[in-house]
């Protein structure tokens, strides 16, 4: 068995341990090193990482462009907040947020099974564009343009942030990332890749294209919905202005920058999509967007296959050199 294929099949490697340790220490480092605001931005970025993780299933595995990440986020955030407002417990409200995202994702898979490439990208763009107006239109439920506060539940206050919240969000990301990894390394991942890269063979061997698309889009929607549930809990207030097309674009960019087939890359992409814009927002005028754009352009130019895969590649290139040096 070649080293690459064997490593790809193994889930728990020394690299996984390093990544888990980094995830365990990062919230503490963010909070202690940067203060509560940095900790807050970190939690927000990790919540976004779930959206990026879902988006990776579409971009990295199905090979399609998804520009509806912000819409899934909005659906999850509002569905769980509305459920909380109706007195449902937090766990149930969370499940409703995830389910709502999954349903929208699964529905989107119906046109996605028929149109591809830029046409599908435009369809998802339409959903992202429509989301703020739909929220405003459903004023009786969402508070319209005035927005709505995310109610507290079970003694867990929304919008508090803090280290405990950050660890909860990080823990949820780790669990979801492991679930996605296990699924992708098994039959589901194989079917997704065969469907995307050898479509006629997949169809010829009985793989149902609509089922694969529904699975991927449903999972993407569910992860986006969960991301929204956590977003609502961290921020504590929802408004249509928070779910503009720009959010979808940030999530898409997060996939591309982190590495569209990389689970650790999803975390990096999430931090970039969710935390960096927050941290740059103090720059006056249009400086924050300009700085974000410059950072993105630099990352894309230096790491075309995504940041995490580029780091892996660099590590693989350095390893023989280090071994040779040690041998000498």
């Amino acid at each position: 068995m070649s080293a690459t294929a064997a490593a790809r099949r193994r889930l728990f490697t020394s690299r996984t341990a390093v990544l888990l340790a980094a995830l365990a220490l990062a919230p503490l480092a963010a909070e202690l090193g940067g203060g509560p605001y940095i900790g807050y931005a970190f939690a927000l970025g990790t919540a976004f990482a779930l959206s990026v993780l879902g988006n990776n299933l579409i971009v990295g595995y199905l090979g399609e462009a998804n520009l509806a990440g912000g819409a899934f986020l909005a659906v999850g955030a509002y569905a769980s907040a509305i459920a909380l407002a109706h007195g449902l417990p937090l766990w149930l409200a969370g499940l409703i947020g995830i389910a709502a995202g999954a349903v929208i994702g699964a529905l989107l898979s119906i046109p996605a099974a028929r149109v591809h490439g830029h046409q599908l990208a435009l369809a998802t763009l339409g959903l992202a564009w429509a989301a703020p107006d739909v929220i405003r239109y459903a004023e009786a439920w969402t508070g319209g343009s005035d927005g709505m506060y995310v109610p507290t539940s079970g003694g867990i206050p929304a919008g508090l942030g803090g280290l405990a919240d950050t660890y909860v969000v990080t823990g949820i990301f780790v669990v979801c990332a492991l679930l996605v990894l296990v699924a992708l390394r098994g039959r589901a991942g194989r079917l997704l890749l065969t469907h995307a890269e050898a479509g006629p063979a997949a169809r010829g061997f009985g793989v149902r294209a609509w089922a694969v698309a529904m699975l991927a889009w449903g999972a993407c929607g569910a992860l986006g919905g969960l991301s929204g549930v956590l977003y609502g809990h961290i921020v504590g207030y929802l408004s249509p202005d928070e779910f503009t097309f720009q959010v979808s674009l940030f999530i898409f960019v997060g996939s591309m920058v982190g590495g569209a087939r990389s689970v650790p890359g999803a975390w990096i992409g999430g931090l970039l999509a969710g935390a960096v814009p927050q941290l740059l927002s103090d720059i006056p005028g249009g400086g924050s967007i300009l700085t974000f754009g410059v950072v993105l352009a630099a990352v894309v130019a230096l790491a075309r296959i995504g940041l995490y895969p580029s780091l892996e590649l660099l590590g693989a290139r350095l390893r023989p050199a280090r071994k040779e040096a040690a041998d000498e």
Binding site: M1, S2, T4, A5, A6, G186, R187, R190, L191, L193, T194, A196, E197, A198, G199, P200, A201, A202, R203, G204, F205, G206, V207, R208, R261
Partner: protein, 244 residues
């Protein structure tokens, strides 16, 4: 021929004004090996695509084990016991050859069992050393073998091979023909439809042939008789056989 496995009856497939197949008929007995030859664009692959369900014929009928499958969905072929390879290789570049082959087995739920079957058959076909390699990194001939292995893992009653020897060196062709012939001798229950340009290759495996040209059947029958037909030679050479 009593109780044929496959019947293709007067099948026409049109793409706009172009008829890729024009009234093609074919009967195949269980366990038989039948070659389909003809120049480029003669409709060989279109015929295979119609039988496999990738194309729906414009007119005509296709029956398999007595049941009409003319408009059956493409994925249903595998359930019925039809497996195929592709003229343009269809292997997922991000999966190893073993993982690609694991798509093949029918009615095997356990992952470890699928993996073992794929690995064993890849070894049987002499490419075990490439099982963990990715398609773009291995020689073309190895990729061709991987496609055949994937199809064989489905344990088909009807195996459709679309130009399996195209792009191979003469040595690889000879080896391939020997392996296919040995497989067909060992698996007497599997019928084979072999589409190829290389008539000599086809004749090593198939005893009967159909020659297509511009979507029409030029001649069908015993291989030696078919190849001796002046109309067949004309369709291959583009001139009368005794011109020189």
């Amino acid at each position: 021929m009593s109780d044929p496995l496959l019947v293709v009856e007067d099948v026409t497939k049109r793409f706009g004004a172009v008829a890729a197949l024009d009234g093609v008929s074919l009967r195949l007995a269980r366990g038989a090996a039948h070659g389909v030859v003809g120049p480029n664009g003669s409709g060989k692959s279109s015929l295979l695509n119609c039988v496999a369900g990738h194309y729906t014929p414009s007119t005509g009928r296709i029956a398999y084990r007595g049941a009409t499958i003319t408009a059956a969905p493409v994925g249903s072929g595998r359930r019925r016991g039809i497996a195929r390879t592709f003229q343009n290789l269809q292997l997922a570049a991000s999966l190893t050859l073993e993982e690609n082959a694991m798509l093949g087995p029918r009615n095997v739920r356990k992952e470890s069992a699928r993996r073992k079957r794929a690995r064993d058959l890849l070894a049987e076909w002499g490419v075990a050393g490439y099982a963990d390699a990715y398609p773009p990194t291995v020689p073309y001939g190895v990729r061709k073998v991987a496609e055949i292995v994937r199809a064989l893992l489905a344990e088909p009653d009807l195996l459709l091979l679309d130009e399996p020897a195209a792009g191979l060196s003469p040595h690889e062709r000879a080896d391939f023909a020997e392996r296919l012939s040995a497989f067909h001798t060992a698996r007497t229950g599997t019928a084979v439809v072999l589409v190829e340009h290389d008539v000599a290759f086809v004749q090593r495996i198939c005893s009967t042939l159909t020659v297509l040209d511009h979507g029409l059947v030029v001649r069908t029958g015993e291989a030696a008789e078919v190849m001796a037909d002046p109309a067949v030679v004309r369709s291959f050479l583009g001139r009368e056989p005794d011109d020189d």
